[in-house]
Subunit: 110 residues, 2 copies
DNA sequence: GCGTCTTGCTACAGATATTGTAGCGTATCG
DNA sequence: CGATACGCTACAATATCTGTAGCAAGACGC
């Protein structure tokens, strides 16, 4: 029962005003720390505090917000005793942009 | 480790505090409208106003900000007479997450 | 029981980032 | 000339994010 974060601009995670799922997905991923969180979970579960550590001490406020969004989207789940982990869907998602790693390496040399 | 003021983030697109290029990339892409802009340019150049139209009337302020960042990153360029277009590097980037489209379609049915 | 951990999670105020509207200067057409 | 479109910016009003502090619940040894 997390309080509704100012419902005005809150878009349902799946639905998009345009009806194009890709827009809803890009919107979700295009929020600060979202991509980073998914990325850091690629190798296994992390507790909320471990996640905070690897995420450069990001504030727990925004981390919780993003984790809630990602859980509602079905990409992340809270595993009792382990912490946060990617769901099957979440692993599918990150596999689509794992090649980003190699791209980033080449990009940094330009 | 203290976070650098926002000006520093804008200046060094490549540099990352951690030295991990992927983090700099995820940081850049994890800003509002960035992913969306790249996505909308996937089929060819768009003028700044056309871009605004397809981007749900996003404010020109933030569009300019993102376009500047993307130009500094080398993903987007301003082609005289055509508008904004992806560079070769930018096309390379979007190809790594074009599969997201199909993923989004399946995701919306869950 | 007690105290001390760690966990997930929240409150709060101050600092940033984004929005929406309006408009500039330039160029290109008729 | 007037009309239009371009890239781009100023400005104040919002919305979002940060950083610090702290809560309640559970697990551990004592």
């Amino acid at each position: 029962m997390p309080k509704p974060p100012s419902a005005a601009r809150k878009r349902s995670v799946h639905g998009s005003r345009t009806g194009r799922p890709i827009m809803a997905l890009l919107d979700l991923l295009g929020r600060r720390w979202t991509l980073r969180i998914i990325w850091e979970l690629r190798d296994g579960a992390l507790t909320s505090r471990a996640l905070r550590t690897v995420c450069d001490q990001a504030s727990p406020t925004i981390l919780q917000t993003r984790l809630t969004e990602l859980r509602e989207a079905g990409f992340v789940e809270l595993v009792s005793g382990e912490g946060y982990a990617l769901t099957a869907l979440g692993r599918e998602l990150i596999e689509t942009f794992l090649p980003l790693h190699r791209f980033a390496e080449r990009w940094s040399n330009t």
